[in-house]
Symmetry: C2
Subunit: 276 residues, 2 copies
């Protein structure tokens, strides 16, 4: 692991690091915020998964999360959204290939060798950060925005017991029925739609749910509502009687101005679960 940068931030440290990832077969870059409390021992950790086109950096500089995490004594991890590099497959579209890993393990050419973002985010990067930093693996929460909200919800519901709390900002809720999902799952996972279902938050909510609190915020003016399909997740939450707070926020769109506006709520939500 190599240190790209470390900046003092809200009494803690905002770092950026690179490492060779066995999961993706390429160098990966991630951001990590450590609150001052990490100097004295392991702290709880909140994973933040980013959306289409993002790198590790977008949320790190635009989401305004570090101040609230510092207040709560919680670390933040900001993974990249795909493998990257000259030897990694890509596509001209913004929503396929580099910057658009969709948090799945690709099985199809040309994506299969590198696009293993599920394994990267759930195994490879956790193994590294819990080894190298003062983070408590028994106290993890996960959140994300858009494609990253999809990742947070699907990972939290699949890895039962791993996360105490899950939240999402404007998540892609029902990718098996959306152009944000069908296109990518066809490319990464193949034509057989049965293989897609384990990566659909609304279907996972219907079939499995989450053993803990859930918080989801989406703006009523989100320009991508037809692609996000929050109604599918809301319906599944209600049908399952899942402990959850599902909010449609009046006037907000899909931008980081929306994300930052509700970051305090999300960090506080996770802190309540992580310190319970």
């Amino acid at each position: 692991m190599q240190t790209v940068s470390e900046n003092a931030c809200f009494g803690g440290t905002q770092g950026v690091y690179t490492h060779a990832s066995a999961a993706t077969g390429c160098d990966m870059t991630f951001g990590l915020f450590l609150p001052s409390e990490a100097r004295d021992g392991p702290v709880p950790v909140l994973w933040y998964l980013s959306g289409l086109t993002c790198t590790h950096e977008n949320a790190m500089v635009k989401a305004g999360a570090q101040g609230w995490a510092a207040e709560q004594g919680i670390a933040l991890v900001f993974p990249d959204t795909s493998p990257r590099g000259a030897g990694v497959a890509d596509d001209e579209a913004y929503d396929l290939g580099q910057g658009a890993g969709f948090y799945v393990n690709a099985t199809q050419a040309p994506w299969a060798p590198h696009f293993r973002m599920w394994d990267y985010v759930t195994e490879d990067l956790p193994a590294l950060v819990f080894d190298r930093f003062a983070l408590d693996p028994e106290r993890q929460g996960i959140t994300g925005h858009s494609m990253g909200g999809h990742g947070a919800l699907t990972i939290a519901m699949t890895l039962a017991g791993c996360f105490r709390s899950v939240s999402a900002f404007a998540p892609i809720c029902h990718p098996t029925a959306s152009d944000w999902g069908q296109k990518q799952f066809t490319a990464y996972l193949g034509e057989d739609a049965d293989a897609w279902e384990e990566h659909d938050a609304a279907l996972l909510m219907r079939d499995a749910g989450f053993d803990g609190p859930v918080l989801v915020d989406t703006g009523t003016k989100d320009q991508f509502l037809d692609l996000l399909m929050p109604e599918a997740l809301a319906g599944a939450i209600a049908a399952r009687r899942q402990q959850a707070v599902f909010r449609m926020q009046p006037g907000y769109d899909h931008s980081y101005f929306f994300v930052s506006s509700f970051m305090e709520d999300h960090v506080t939500f996770h802190a309540e679960a992580l310190y319970a």
Copy 2:
């Protein structure tokens, strides 16, 4: 004036607008955050002047100011840092020309026709925003980062009575004695160093001071301390017996991670003056 974008943000609106500026003779872009209170009438306004290489956008997305401004019911204006466009003079260096206006009115070729950022920030843009938005001209504060801290301090001390409070993040304090100043003042204002003095915060503090509270934060690990020369401003504050809080923040550098870490303090500081 044309609307580039408007996003819901912390209960208010983060807008971006363009307008033809008489001062700079070109189209200018600025950001404006209006808190929800602006729907009911004029609100106080805090000007945020940005540093070298920045546009209107950097602080708008990275400084984390809107949440605190919303809490205080204060508007934020984010001007650009120079004239821009194909017809505007520029230089290959990052610290001269476009992105580096230094908040002065250039008198020298090739800069003179467009590089009139003093007039733009103190006359042209105020006339526009007080006409078009619910802002109270009797309640203005000003702040900025690096070159923008220089701008905030020099403007506040020169326009006596205009601003109730002034603050700065890692300001260029003594440009007449620094490579961040001598180079640009020579280019924009000419070889006669006497003409530079009215744009030097440390000299203005020595000669005029500010009729109100002053807050200045600089990081002890700022990589540009030799160029910023905070000791010159600190000395002038002390010699003048100026009401001020001058802080050296341990471990912080020059980045927006530093700025955002202390944004709550600065917005609260201005709010106390603007609501006094």
